[in-house]
């Protein structure tokens, strides 16, 4: 069933249920993914999917239901379920079906074509071959992969708003496993796009080899630099604290701090839904509000939290167009888009020199469990390199770095120039340069 037919059916059902205000959010996608093992394509997956959600205002509240099953009975029940769900909502949020923004930014729709299956296989195999070619230490378990996904979003509502977007994301990854005298280590690296995969093999192999022979360090206070990958993972773990909803519900310690200093001067945190380089740019959020680039923290001052329509209304503000819906299955949820710490002046090596002695942390593990966004506390298994006199001086592992996210933001001493972005998940991508945190608690041997 195509979108137009689906829309007509849902609209007819909505009218017969006496619903005046409603919205249809549809997403579909098509993807390919190849993975290698031992010089062969070990698994290849190919998927097509589509789903639709229907939300409506009934008795002043918003109800929602979603499905992937495009059968007439299911679609009719979808409308009735959304209406029934609205009946029990008590949150007092103003239920808003949005009439549209005055102006939407122009985001060039992706014109990229899905690559051929044979090209994807070929590229994946060539990356694996390059990995094995990098060093004799490379061993079994080494893999590479290539993926491509194109997706479409359609939003249509009872106020006559019609918006659509087409996205294309592709990339490749390398996982190098090395073994030296029985000690195994691995490293993972990825590249967005299928044209810039040349450095993947050498980077993943050199990273894995660098981890070999790591030593343990005694507990104590150490100066810490988090590399861009780890700092963006930290941003991801704590991104909920920037939600206006969480702040209002007392679940974020940034509550009431808009306009106040919450971070060091060198910290500017940007949310840019229109950034095309990450493959997930969008001119509208999940409620149809026009998106725009904004500084959430500017030179240390919290300029704004993130809002959707309902919580902006509760807070007496405008929506920041962060009512995101990563897919039809997700309800409107306040979340950032391309969310990154702006780069500073120093190169990565100049930042090491500025620290002098300390630890350069290149791995943080278990952030989903070891970081608590309500309290800001974290205590995270880490690995990286000792730094002596501004130079890397051997791998270190088996320690934790502990602290508090909010204190950490205030204590950041410097940020490097080069912002490293991660892989997108839904419309969200995190990015950060290397960041000099200053002194942190480390638990080791």
């Amino acid at each position: 069933m195509n979108f137009e037919k689906l829309r007509e059916l849902l609209e007819t059902e909505a009218k017969s249920e006496g619903l005046e205000h409603y919205e249809i959010y549809y997403t579909s996608s098509e993807g390919l993914n190849a993975e290698t093992l031992e010089h062969e394509i070990s698994s290849f997956s190919s998927g097509v999917s589509a789903g639709v959600s229907f939300r409506c205002v009934w008795k002043g509240s918003m109800g929602n239901a979603a499905t992937e099953l495009f059968e007439e009975n299911e679609l009719r029940s979808l409308v009735r379920r959304a209406k029934a769900n609205a009946e029990v909502i008590e949150n007092g949020e103003q239920a808003i079906i949005f009439g549209g923004s005055e102006k939407y930014a122009t985001v060039a729709e992706s014109v990229a074509q899905m690559p051929q299956v044979s090209d994807i296989k070929k590229l994946a195999l060539s990356i694996e071959e390059q990995i094995y070619g990098e060093s004799e230490l490379v061993t079994e378990g080494t893999q590479s992969g290539v993926f491509a996904e194109s997706s479409r979003v359609e939003l249509a509502n009872s106020k006559g708003l019609r918006l659509s977007n087409k996205l294309f994301v592709a990339g490749a990854y390398a996982q190098a496993v090395v073994n030296r005298e029985g000690e195994a280590q691995e490293a993972f690296d990825f590249a967005m796009g299928l044209d810039e995969t040349d450095a993947l093999a050498s980077k993943s192999v050199s990273d894995a080899i660098a981890k070999l022979g790591a030593s343990e360090i005694p507990s104590g206070k150490y100066n810490i630099i988090l590399d861009g990958k780890q700092m963006r993972a930290m941003l991801s773990a704590f991104s909920g604290v920037f939600s206006g909803k969480n702040a209002m519900l007392g679940l974020s310690l940034l509550s009431g701090k808009e306009g106040e200093r919450v971070a060091a001067d060198c910290v500017t945190l940007v949310d840019d839904p229109l950034k095309t380089e990450n493959g997930v740019a969008t001119a509208f959020d999940g409620e149809g509000v026009a998106t725009y680039k904004k500084n959430v923290i500017e030179n240390g001052t919290l300029k704004t939290l993130l809002y959707d329509l309902a919580y902006a209304q509760k807070a007496g503000k405008e929506s920041t167009a962060n009512g995101q819906r990563a897919s039809y299955a997700q309800q409107v949820n306040i979340a950032p888009f391309s969310f990154y710490i702006k780069g500073g002046e120093l190169s990565d090596s100049e930042l090491l020199a500025k620290m002098g002695d300390g630890i350069y942390v290149t791995e943080l593990k278990g952030l989903h469990a070891g970081a608590n966004s309500v309290t800001g506390d974290f205590s995270i298994e880490s690995a990286g390199f000792a730094v002596k006199g501004g130079k890397l001086a051997g791998a270190v592992k088996g320690f934790t770095v502990a602290g508090n996210f909010f204190r950490m933001l205030e204590q950041i001493q410097a940020v490097a120039k080069d912002v490293k972005f991660g892989m997108p998940s839904g419309f969200t991508v995190y990015g950060s340069p290397d960041v000099l945190l200053g002194e942190m608690s480390v638990a080791g041997k």
Binding site: S43, S45, A66, L69, A184, G250, L253, D377, F399, A402
Partner: protein, 459 residues
């Protein structure tokens, strides 16, 4: 869900280019959660997931194709897509399916999705209001009552054709305690592979009070000191230590490709002789139980480690081909969009020889981890981490002041040897385990155990 004739046609098409095995998996999952925050019902998530995943094998190579188009044309096109990617051979294959019954070991009395929404809301509010009213320092309570009805179908080119339904129910309550500009949290989240009858066993009010008590303990606690110490880890979700430190490293996903520190160690002593560990997907009504796994094999009780000796891995069909060993009923996936792989079900360390009071009394100075949070592991190196949600310092054999913000890190092979006392109050806790085949419900469990030395992250 899908007619037998269409399944047979799809399997024949899937095999037509040279694959040596093909499988169709289909699901129709109803997912319903009621979410409460600030004392009010905030959101109802009411989603239907429906789709097909078709897998073709040639030796240890696999192709996996998925679609949400459940029409005959959609399913056959999906099979053709998989076949075209697999090979270029052209041949005709006939597949004849034999429908097989599945014995239901987990009957559901009160359906958690179709039960009157007012009754479900009453359960959630009982829990959350009890949490909020417990103490005036409790500033916020969030709660979710989740019901999942997961209907699956598995058919394969060997003629297997089974359908099953897994129903589960869970309540999650998180409390925040606040004082002097500081927040601390506590939680409680029991779940079962059953319907709302789980609340005959769990009083919702007690669940709420448990969450708030924990938040208050943490609010009053100082930071945990850092360093190596002796740690006693309590039962229930404490079993996450085995799940992370060892369980993942025993999955064929890792072992079959040489990516586990447990490779080649069958029959060897890998743990203290007091440690016996089991993965059992058959426990009636347990959170991680299923009648059949996602390849159609019945789940079973697998003794992984017996008195310290490694006895078994957890093996799915692909792992079985890679390792030349039998499947163990551990193939699992979140849904049709994930290719299945070997996963845990209900995994626990069995009761041991030590009295619980002796374990605490034996610790001169250390940490008592009363409740654990989640964690993660790198199966290649065995390096793991997990968070302590509620912990206390032990001094001279007595549990003393509470400490917060602790984590435990180590390596799997080492901690298995360092577990030197195993108590007798085996109990399980519930978690959602994330891995390459998605997020699935698993139980973790153990009695109180003592780890003689482990790195405690704190400050």
């Amino acid at each position: 869900m899908i007619k037998q004739q269409i399944l047979e046609e799809a399997l024949a098409v899937a095999m037509s280019t040279g694959g040596d095995f093909a499988e169709v998996y289909a699901e129709n999952t109803k997912n319903n959660s009621i979410q409460l925050v600030d004392g009010k019902i905030d959101k109802i998530v009411d989603n239907t997931y429906s789709g097909v995943g078709i897998r073709v094998f040639l030796g240890t190579k696999t192709v996996y194709a998925t679609t949400t188009d459940m029409t005959r044309e959609g399913i056959v096109a999906c099979a053709k897509n998989a076949a075209d990617i697999m090979g270029e051979l052209k041949r005709t294959v006939n597949v004849i399916l034999t429908p097989m019954g599945v014995k239901n070991n987990h009957p559901v009395l009160i359906d958690p999705i179709t039960a009157d929404v007012r009754n479900r809301i009453a359960i959630l509010k009982d829990a959350c209001f009890a949490a909020k009213e417990y103490d005036e320092k409790i500033s916020q309570v969030q709660g979710t009552l989740l019901g999942v009805d997961h209907a699956i179908l598995v058919a394969n080119s060997e003629g297997l054709f089974k359908q099953d339904r897994h129903v589960r129910t869970r309540i999650v309550v998180n409390s925040v305690a606040s004082a002097a500009g500081e927040n601390q949290s506590g939680g409680c989240s029991p779940g079962r592979g059953m319907g709302l009858e789980m609340f005959d066993k769990f009083n919702p009010r007690e669940i709420g009070i448990h969450a708030s008590k924990q938040a208050l303990v943490n609010l009053g606690a100082g930071y945990c000191p850092a360093g190596q110490m002796t740690v006693a880890i309590e039962n229930g979700f404490g079993g996450v230590i085995f799940h992370e430190a060892c369980g993942h490293s025993l999955e064929a996903t890792q072992v079959g490709v040489g990516m586990s520190e447990m490779c080649g160690k069958l029959g060897q002593i890998i743990a203290n002789p007091k440690v016996t560990a089991i993965d059992d997907g058959t426990i009636a009504g347990a959170w991680g139980s299923v009648n059949i796994d996602d390849e159609g094999n019945p789940t079973q009780r697998n003794v992984l480690i017996e008195n310290g000796v490694l006895k078994s891995y957890m093996i799915d069909r692909l792992g079985s081909r890679r390792m030349g060993m039998a499947m163990t009923g551990n193939s699992r996936r979140q849904g049709y969009s994930y290719e299945p792989t070997s996963r845990m079900t209900n995994t626990f360390i069995d009761n041991g020889p030590d009295k619980n009071e002796d374990i605490i009394a034996s610790i001169e100075y250390g940490l008592y981890a009363k409740e654990m949070g989640g964690g993660s592991v790198n199966p290649l190196t065995g390096a793991f981490n997990f968070a302590v949600r509620e912990g206390y310092i032990v001094r001279n054999g007595k549990i003393c002041e509470a400490v917060r913000g602790a984590s435990l890190i180590g390596t799997g092979s080492q901690i298995l040897k360092d577990i030197d006392m195993v108590g007798q109050n085996l109990d399980c806790g519930q978690g959602m385990c994330g891995s390459s085949s998605g997020s699935i419900p698993t139980d973790v469990g153990q009695p109180l155990i003592r780890v003689k030395k482990i790195t405690v992250g704190g400050r």
